[in-house]
């Protein structure tokens, strides 16, 4: 059993009671709500006559179903079921006194982008959301995990969940990321090494030189994909990078109150002599940009590495690899470089933040999207969008031939109009390449960093961004 880790300390501070089923009752410091997983819980509460006891610890926005074309955001939404979900959320949050950043708000966006940028997510909190990528918020040194719809109901009804404590695996990442190599590559590497179910039963604590060197936004991308590695949650101990990011944000206290809060943040960080259930070391010196070749995020290689032949993989992975390669149409033995791309998609809760677009813009400046590629840039939040527009980054995207959109989940899972068609191949900065994920059951998704998406957009094929001349990434 782990001891003295941030996970242990934060868990203990939030533990309310032992439940008769052997689980712990955990108080939830921040519950993020979106339109897809909340309507049923709210209606169940209404049926049972239960009021939300801690409305101020719940925050809602709308992300999955929103159209990303400005003209598509007029109410009522053209898609009746999307309009129904949005209307339900408006009504539910208003009746329960819960803050809602709706389509008319300049702070609307993907929950996992909005909460960090507003300073809602802070170290030492418990954060949940009816969405598996809640793990993102662990980047601040919080315990953050996705919950099912019944647990959404539980949190609304009691501000608590019934939960089992996981084991803690420390992942120490040594080395330095080279030019053109980003935190997305680092997490894809971790998942490729440990497997898509390697983290089952664990919470990941990411540390080491390479992780400490990351900016807050880059850390968010790492923790975001913990779930793709099978871990329910992932976190990074808070440090000066974390505190400086938080300073001055809307929901972060100022002055003396900030210092007081910071003392708590520092206190919950893992002790130097903490005990872990497992420790894994990795070195990212010389790591290449990573790309997926298959239909799980763990089926990934360096961009110049050969795609593995199924017969060379461990026995349990062969069949899945064969099926995946038949779907994506890649040839074992060849590298992914040169794989034709029809769509370039930049955005999502993994890589839809300001730095992601800046990195891509550095590649796109003075270049044009390949004529056979349709390219979509979807900021993770309206705040990200307006920040980039103030810097003129949107002009770079538009000049290159990207469609510049409003905030939402968009083609990450295609619950709006943004979707792959037929067997299109997509260079995507998202987190999932499952069959059908981007809206077409024959569509092919290649996961990569934002800079690599930009390079693929320009070349019309998977391209090592470091091969593009004069790119300063």
């Amino acid at each position: 059993m782990s001891e003295g880790t941030l996970y242990d300390k934060v868990w203990d501070r939030h533990k309310v009671a032992d439940l008769p089923n052997g689980q712990d009752q955990l108080f939830i410091g921040l519950h993020l709500i979106h339109e897809v997983t909340s309507p049923q819980p709210f209606s169940e509460l209404r049926e049972r006559g239960i009021e939300v006891p801690y409305p101020e610890r719940n925050v809602a926005t709308v992300d999955h179903i929103v159209p990303t074309r400005p003209e598509g955001r007029e109410r009522p939404l053209a898609d009746g079921s999307a309009e129904g979900m949005l209307t339900a959320l408006e009504r539910n949050t208003a009746e329960s006194d819960i803050q809602f950043y709706g389509l008319d708000s300049d702070k609307q966006g993907i929950t996992h982008v909005v909460a960090p940028e507003l300073g809602l997510t802070q170290p030492g909190m418990t954060v949940v959301c009816g969405d598996s990528h809640t793990a993102t918020h662990g980047a601040f040194g919080s315990i953050a995990f996705g919950i099912g719809t019944s647990q959404v109901r539980d949190v609304l009804a009691s501000q608590c969940v019934a939960a089992d404590k996981a084991a803690v695996r420390q992942i120490e990442v040594d080395g330095t990321l080279g030019p053109g190599v980003h935190s997305k590559d680092l997490i894809l590497k971790i998942i490729a090494e440990l497997g898509v179910d390697g983290g089952v039963g664990y919470v990941y604590e990411y540390g080491g030189e390479a992780v400490r060197d990351l900016s807050m936004e880059e850390r968010l991308a790492v923790c975001n994909m913990s779930i793709e590695g099978g871990a329910r949650a992932g976190y990074i101990n808070p440090d000066e990078t974390t505190y400086e990011f938080l300073r001055g944000r809307e929901f972060v206290p100022e002055g003396d109150a900030f210092e007081e809060r910071k003392a708590y943040w520092e206190a919950v960080a893992s002790d130097d002599d903490a005990d872990y259930d497992d420790v894994v070391r990795l070195d990212v010196d010389g790591l290449e940009p990573m790309v997926t070749w298959g239909t799980t995020p763990g089926q990934a290689v360096g961009v110049s590495d050969p795609v593995p032949a199924p017969e060379n993989l461990p026995e349990g992975e062969r069949e899945a690899a064969r099926t995946a390669q038949a779907h994506t149409g890649v040839e074992p033995g060849e590298s992914m470089a040169g794989y034709d791309i029809d769509v370039a998609f930049l955005g999502t809760c993994t890589n839809g933040r300001t730095s992601d677009f800046r990195e891509a813009a550095a590649v796109l400046a003075g270049r044009e999207v390949h004529p056979d590629v349709r390219a979509l840039a979807v900021p993770g939040s309206q705040t990200v969008k307006s920040t980039l527009e103030a810097e003129g980054v949107d002009d770079v995207f538009r000049a290159a031939g990207f469609d510049w959109r409003e905030a939402g989940c968009s083609m990450c899972l295609a619950m709006n109009d943004d979707s792959l068609e037929g067997d299109e191949r997509c260079a995507s900065s998202s987190n999932r390449n499952y069959v059908g994920r981007q809206g077409s059951k024959d569509g092919r998704t290649v996961l990569m960093s934002p800079a690599m998406v930009a390079a693929a957009a320009v070349e019309g094929e998977v391209t090592d961004v470091r091969d593009l001349a004069e790119v300063d990434t």
Binding site: R13, H14, K15, V16, A17, L19, P20, N21, G22, Q25, G29, V36, T37, P39, Q40, S43, R48, I50, P53, Y54, R57, H64, D79, S81, G84, M85, A88, M125, S132, G146, I147, G148, T149, S150, Q151, R153, D154, A157, S158, Q159, C160, A162, D197, V200, G201, G230, R232, R261, G316, E319, A320, L413, A414, M415, R432, V435, G436, R437, G439, K441
Partner: protein, 208 residues
């Protein structure tokens, strides 16, 4: 909705055994996008979810129903799956869709964590067994779809034909199902004072 605090409610909610017939779904890493494609999540109720279970896999390219087990084994209630079933998103729509279709228990090699949690909160036991046992079960069901299969939740056993094999059920799930306390709303709200106490001690929660 039954209320777990009254005794009859608890009695009713106890899940001690599930008996019926089986339906095999073969394959590792079957994710929630396959169990229910995201385009069917735009709902505000659970109505009609049964139709959406394995929607794409159940159809040919021309939209006609094919010989997918969910078309062939109507009326079955014990789903038998392989490794890492239910991986992917946290959507509870996945087990809800399975449940609406008729699934009352699942036996598999392993389950994604959130998926198993979601099953628990719906009162659906998710039991694990070794690959050989699962393969044997799937073979038997395919050979004789009408043959009975029973999951004894209390004793953690599956019986089919003359065979009885041991399975594993996560401890928290086992307790919740057998004691009928998987309705967590009632459980959690019975500690309201302790909740307020914990909240008051947290430096980031404003006192109220």
């Amino acid at each position: 909705m039954s209320d777990a605090t009254d005794d009859d409610g608890v009695e009713e909610m106890k899940v001690r055994r599930v008996a019926g017939t089986g339906v095999p779904i073969r394959g590792d890493d079957i994710d929630t996008d396959q169990i229910i494609p995201a385009r069917f999540l735009k709902t505000t109720t659970w109505e009609g979810m049964d139709e959406y279970a394995f929607y794409d896999a159940r159809r040919d390219d021309d939209g006609e129903l094919n010989d997918h087990p969910f078309n062939e084994y109507k009326g079955a209630n014990v789903l038998v799956v392989n490794d890492n079933f239910g991986c992917g998103s946290s959507r509870e729509h996945a087990p809800r869709a399975l449940a609406r279709w008729g699934v009352e228990a699942i036996v598999g090699e392993s389950f994604a964590e959130i998926f198993a949690d979601n099953c628990k909160s719906l009162g659906i036991p998710a039991a694990t067994a070794d690959p050989e046992t699962v393969a044997e079960l799937q073979d038997v069901i395919e050979a004789t779809p009408e043959a009975g299969i029973e999951l004894d939740v209390v004793d953690k056993q599956v019986t089919y034909g003359n065979e009885t094999v041991d399975v594993s059920i996560d401890e928290a799930m086992h307790g919740a199902l057998v004691q009928g306390i998987w309705d967590t709303v009632a459980l959690l709200r019975s500690n309201m004072d302790a909740i307020d106490g914990t909240a008051t001690d947290l430096p980031y929660v404003e006192s109220r």
